[in-house]
Symmetry: C2
Subunit: 443 residues, 2 copies
């Protein structure tokens, strides 16, 4: 007999079915054994009235059970699980794999362990419904990102991660021994997605990005997944932000439709948006902050974390929006390819989208003039020959263009209100951990 | 006025439109200038009867043109391009970006340059329609892979590429300086996708994989994109091959529907399939080869490239199939996690799918018993503690499972009949090139 998925058992009352999965929890009532069986579609209660083999069953054992689907009496209905109106009366049991004793109780609504323990036992802790829910949400972000941009005429591209040069920062880069040479792990797919505007006009890519940040924070990992997009023939800088807005509204819509259960598990509410996401220049934001708090950062080249939180509070009060574009960061603080505002070239056509006090998305228009880029590469202290393939794309004609990037883990964390970005990565890496905790080598 | 994409101009005869793109080619007839303009949707002829600014136009200049859509006289219809029945009579021209003189003629049906030159000028050569077509085909392979597996209940996962240990080979791995430690670039997402069977039962992932092969061949790169899938609760080894078959038929169907134009550009024909892809044990294949050619490799532990070609010829003749599963490779030649055939434990429940003389897909059933895996890690010369997170997944209960992997570039190359796998990678990496040719450092 073919396996029935747990989610498909509800309308099989009175029928015999074969179900497979993991023992999620076990409860004994005298000689009767109850288990909640878990498969990829949900939980289901199984009753063993007399099967001798069931006596040994423990959490996480993998089993195949043949049994009869029965309706539960009204007062025994379990409203907490989707199959709560039924149960299976087991006729036979086959053990597919045993499990050793668990290091902590997994049959609870919230795992009661510290983050290091959660990560030390990642292969086990990921099985917990609340952890699986995090990655359902992440998959929905990713698949809706793809779907929305594809509809807008973007082409998905695959770009490399081994790179010949350091593009955006000095020390925070991982070096690779590459045969007789040295190479690096890419800090972003930026240069490649720009090149590909010359080929497909509108492109997006899901790219692993690497940052050798020698610090441990709740918001950074050494490897993360960037959702990157770039578009040519833009009318102006605004068009990029308009595209971000279309994208975000689409992602939130997909989230509301496909992840309501998961959002509820985290008591998470999707950000409220005004008709149009408000836009403030960085200098305007600093002025607002000064007027509201007396804190005078009006000459600072960037917003401090406390500034970002304050401006989000202001925008929520004034515009009823939990998201805000901060634009026109100073030219000197942005990468060499950032497009200066023609009317005020000390500031750039760049933006950060802030949400709930943190940066969600960063983007902007890029310089598309070859000679200006060559000059800027030098001005930023690099050699044009190290950027040969990139500069080539502009040497042979590139339209006005720009783009943006969001971190898959960052946005998952922000939507669900997770405390630590590591919770939004299946196997998070930081300076102290690659799956297992790293020991410091003896000097 | 809003931009009209070239593919949308056909039904606008008599109307004024704005089009944008690159000058693909230019032809002068006396004072009249003709250009073929290229955008992401195709080519379109533009006629400049008198615009002075058009005199300077050269290949790859980026322009915006306002003009009138006109039907061409019957005898001037160009059947080679989709818009061949019409042309634009230019009223005004705006130059968005200039291009320097090209290193080779790009306005031809086939670029007449060597592979090294093609790669030295990658940002330019990728714009050629035939190169773009390669990546349209690749995107279709990838998107149909995702779509078909999602329909079969698979969940997409994101796995890391920085790994703490060497899983499948000794020397062919890239080392990273990871703060005070050493880490590696993953040779495949194998261990992570297996772990995730314990979470989602059926998973797939698109993962960059890295091989430090110190050789230059037409079939290998140092970084490639693996399309990996893994499934739990399998009935038996056959179920994995059945899934591969469903997947391949689906990919070919998508290819036929969405890429007929691209296939035609390469005179490529999709592989013919019999009702069921034939399956041969490796030893049987060697016997067939012996009988057909007299070449006696019946005691060899693997098929040689010439064997693979011969067995493909045999299968095509006998079963009218261009694809064949070769199964039951020797236990000693496969990774430590490969499931031995219970009836003949010197051979494994593993397969290679060969197509047109080359390996397309590799896969098999995995050992899901914890203690056997621990023993095998040791037997294969590794330390269980280096595989702690992986082994943990089995320690806490894992169903019978297996999976498979195909290389995105490899399958693109094979479908289109490309000579070199580098043609199927946007920015191929090998020991001699990372975008630009690597110089050998002086010793």
């Amino acid at each position: 007999m073919q396996r029935t998925l747990i989610s498909k058992t509800l309308n099989k009352v009175g029928q015999e079915v074969v179900i497979e999965g993991w023992v999620n929890t076990r409860r004994d009532h005298g000689k009767i054994i109850f288990i909640d069986l878990r498969d990829r579609t949900g939980l289901l209660q199984v009753v063993f009235l007399s099967l001798e083999e069931a006596k040994n069953l423990r959490s996480e054992w993998v089993v195949e059970i043949t049994g009869l689907v029965k309706e539960r009496p009204e007062k025994l209905v379990n409203p907490k699980i989707a199959t709560g109106k039924i149960e299976i009366e087991a006729k036979s049991l086959k053990i597919l794999a045993k499990a050793e004793e668990l290091p902590f109780d997994t049959g609870v609504e919230n795992l009661n362990v510290s983050l290091p323990v959660l990560l030390d036992f990642r292969s086990l802790s990921l099985r917990h419904p609340k952890n699986r829910a995090v990655f359902k949400v992440q998959e929905t972000v990713i698949s809706s990102f793809r779907e929305i941009l594809t509809k807008l005429g973007f082409t998905e591209i695959q770009v490399p991660t081994i790179v010949p040069n350091i593009t955006e920062g000095g020390s925070q880069v991982f070096k690779i021994k590459y045969f007789e040479n040295e190479a690096f792990l890419g800090q972003s797919p930026q240069l490649y997605k720009q090149i590909m505007v010359g080929v497909f006009e509108r492109v997006f890519t899901l790219a692993h990005a690497y940052r050798a940040e020698p610090s441990v924070t709740t918001r950074h990992m050494t490897e993360y997944l960037g959702l990157d997009a770039e578009m040519g023939f833009i009318r102006d800088f605004d068009e990029i932000m308009e595209t971000v807005e279309i994208l975000l509204r689409g992602i939130f819509k997909a989230m509301a439709e496909e992840c309501s259960e998961e959002l509820e598990m985290f008591s998470a509410v999707l950000p409220s948006l005004s008709d149009k996401i408000p836009r403030l220049k960085m200098r305007e934001a600093q002025q607002v902050i000064f007027e509201r708090t007396g804190r005078d950062n009006r000459n600072e080249p960037d917003l401090e974390p406390e500034d970002e939180r304050e401006i989000c509070r202001y925008v929520l009060e004034k515009f009823k929006s939990e998201l805000v574009f901060i634009t026109h960061y100073p030219t000197e603080k942005r990468p060499f390819y950032t497009y200066p505002d023609p009317k005020d070239p000390d500031y750039t056509c760049s933006f950060d989208l802030l949400g709930r006090g943190l940066e969600w998305i960063t983007g902007g228009q890029r310089i598309n003039d070859y000679q200006t880029l060559v000059d800027n590469v030098r001005k930023w202290g690099n050699k044009p020959e190290d950027f040969a393939i990139y500069l080539q794309a502009f040497k042979y004609g590139m339209p006005p263009e720009g783009g943006f990037c969001l971190g898959a883990e960052r946005i998952t964390m922000q939507i669900l209100g997770l405390e630590n970005i590591r919770q939004a990565s299946l196997f998070p890496r930081d300076m102290e951990r690659i799956d297992i905790r790293l020991s410091r080598p003896e000097k």
